[in-house]
């Protein structure tokens, strides 16, 4: 177990370094814009005095590394500044919009693994056969369009032509669920309203599937590729020489070892859904971080941009740390490594 803790510790340290790097990167990008951010934020009708006040508040007159120092100091207090767009603390804005996005991404992530992985296994096991070809074409198709294209297609087919799913939103207007966690799956249950839970679940199917589709294809392709490589290993031949059933060989001898490299990449794909969620949210009018993100970017609301990107990157890194831990759990080489960090 200590080996796993060591992996956790090492990953957390690198993640922190990377996160600081990300903050510097975003901060640098945010400060290289031509023109005075305060002027841009306040619009053309602002008075010189107003601009000056805001500039001082934003420490815009200090050298850039001093500005970054202020930024870090505030960040360590959990203060991402005030959004110039909503006039509220950025953290409050994010807290309001993030749960809806996370809920969508989590459901899509589960879909990606639950559908993509088995498809990849089938494909590798029946390599060269009809099943393999069908799955390969399917997964190649799914990775060939961005989430919003799938969103449009799914919406047309399953909400308009065959109206089984709702067109947009997170939950029907007739339900009013008090927001406790922001996660409707949890809030509806907290409110004890099973019908609302069902309604919310109904709403999330299409957006999550649209978001998940290319991930499903990616996971299937990756699993297949890794398993085919594993199928060439000597221990597969050894397993066959013992006459184990092919299904058992696929599961225990080909899949298990293949998961180790595949999971890392699947983790990356899962995390990049955080970005792609923006596309799907727009089509399905999903009240997540997307509308906020696009709005603040269009308005050049620096604090909000930096905050949004940082939070998404942090979520991305956290997902990757979790994936690395899972890999460590299934990989005996890491679990039993004698090496110290």
């Amino acid at each position: 177990m200590t080996a796993i803790l060591r992996v956790l510790l090492r990953r957390l340290v690198t993640s922190l370094i990377v996160l600081i790097g990300v903050s510097m990167l975003i901060f640098a990008i945010a400060r290289i814009i031509p023109g005075n951010p305060a002027r841009i934020a306040l619009g053309p009708n602002a008075t010189a005095e107003q601009i000056e006040r805001l500039s001082a508040a934003l420490h815009l007159d200090a050298p850039i590394w001093v500005q970054y120092g202020y930024f870090l100091r505030d960040l360590s207090r959990g203060d991402l500044g005030i959004s110039l767009y909503t006039n509220r603390p950025v953290t409050a804005d994010i807290a309001q919009f993030l749960p809806a996005t996370l809920e969508l991404v989590l459901v899509a992530g589960v879909m990606m693994v639950a559908i993509g992985l088995p498809l990849g296994v089938l494909s590798a096991r029946y390599r060269g056969g009809a099943i393999d070809n069908a799955i390969r074409v399917f997964s190649l198709l799914t990775v060939s369009a961005p989430g919003f294209v799938w969103a449009v297609i799914l919406m047309l087919v399953f909400a308009f032509f065959v109206p089984i799913f709702p067109i947009a939103g997170r939950i029907s207007d007739s339900y009013s669920i008090p927001a406790v966690t922001g996660f409707l799956a949890i809030d509806t249950l907290l409110a004890g309203d099973l019908r609302a839970f069902g309604n919310a679940a109904w709403h999330i199917v299409l957006p999550a599937l649209a978001l998940a589709l290319s991930g499903i294809g990616q996971a299937a392709r990756l699993t297949r590729a890794n398993m085919i490589e594993t199928y060439d290993r000597p221990y597969i031949e050894m397993a066959r020489s013992y006459g184990f059933p092919e299904g058992r060989i696929a599961r225990r001898y080909a899949l298990r070892p293949s998961l180790i490299p595949a999971m890392t990449i699947i983790g990356l794909d899962f995390a990049s859904m955080l970005g792609n969620a923006f596309l799907v949210e727009a089509i399905f009018a999903w009240p997540g971080l997307s509308r906020y993100g696009v709005a603040v970017i269009l308005r050049k609301d620096l604090n909000a941009i930096v905050g949004t990107v940082l939070i998404i990157s942090a979520a991305f890194l956290i997902v990757n740390v979790i994936v690395d831990l899972l890999v460590a759990v299934i990989n005996p080489r890491i679990r039993y490594s004698q090496r110290s960090a």
């Binding site: 990008i29 070809n133 074409v137 369009a145 995390a271 696009v294």
Partner: protein, 277 residues
């Protein structure tokens, strides 16, 4: 080379890919010849024929200001491909050199370069491009800049991984023992062994650049009107679903067809050239 081409054309799926890619590239090159209304690539308004379903001569219908959707798709291909080529011709050399250096030289150079790569990889690609586009003016040039900035780390990763394993090969040791310098080993010995993987990835990426540019445009952060772009066409049309379905469906299919074609070819190349993932 000959063998590669032969295998590519003898498999029905990769043949389909080659055909699709050829079609898309031809459409892009000869857009002004093929398009029934070349002028519709710009800011043209035709209030007589606006929002028309598919009919002759507008086989894919017209948009809200009466422009021929088919013509606009052709020109959108042209811009996407140019963008893809430009992005890759900057991102690939940068990513490859960094990957080679980190993988071969090792030590603190490796540590710094790979952490830098991690930083870029830790921001979801779309978010990174969005934030760059957000603070810069949303022009085509800045769009390319943003997409390039998020693209090179993927090549670094691919080349870095190959370099790490090739570094252990006997031929690298042989070159070092002879006294060849790091530049020779990296570019003349190791790089040729990365080429199959790079070519494969570039083929796939030409498709993905189309995806990402259309995604940015979809959010209003990419190619700006009146320049045609598949992503913004889908975004505009989505508001008029399902009645004016042609506004979205054709540009969406155009994305799918082009990217699918590049993916089919890239996939086949990966199999033929034995390139790693």
């Amino acid at each position: 080379m000959k063998r590669t081409l032969f295998i590519l054309l003898s498999n029905p799926l990769s043949l389909l890919g080659v055909i699709l890619v050829a079609l898309v590239v031809l459409c892009a090159i000869f857009a002004n010849v093929i398009a029934p209304f070349p002028s519709h690539a710009g800011a043209v308004v035709d209030f007589v024929n606006f929002n028309k379903p598919p009919q002759w001569p507008s086989i894919m219908g017209t948009d809200l200001v009466g422009r021929d959707i088919f013509s606009r798709i052709l020109f959108a291909y042209r811009i996407s491909l140019v963008l893809g080529v430009v992005v890759l011709s900057i991102a690939v050399p940068v990513g490859v050199v960094i990957g080679l250096a980190a993988g071969y030289l090792g030590g603190w150079i490796e540590y710094c370069l790979m952490r830098l790569t991690d930083v870029f990889l830790s921001v979801p690609p779309l978010v990174l491009a969005m934030s760059i586009m957000g603070v810069l003016e949303p022009t085509l040039l800045n769009g390319m800049l943003a997409v390039t900035a998020m693209w090179w780390p993927w090549y670094t990763r691919v080349v870095y991984n190959i370099t790490r394993s090739e570094r252990e090969e006997g031929y690298v040791l042989a070159a070092e023992v002879i006294g060849a310098g790091p530049a020779h080993v990296m570019f003349r010995e190791i790089l040729p062994n990365c080429v199959p993987a790079i070519v494969t990835k570039m083929t796939l990426d030409l498709g993905f650049v189309i995806l990402i540019v259309s995604s940015l445009s979809f959010l209003g952060l990419g190619v700006q009107p009146p320049t045609p772009d598949l992503g913004s066409m889908v975004a505009e049309g989505a508001r008029y679903l399902p009645d004016s379905w042609w506004l979205t469906v054709f540009p969406a299919l155009a994305i799918l067809v082009a990217v699918f074609g590049f993916n089919l070819v890239g996939d086949a190349l990966r199999e033929i050239l034995g390139a790693e993932q």
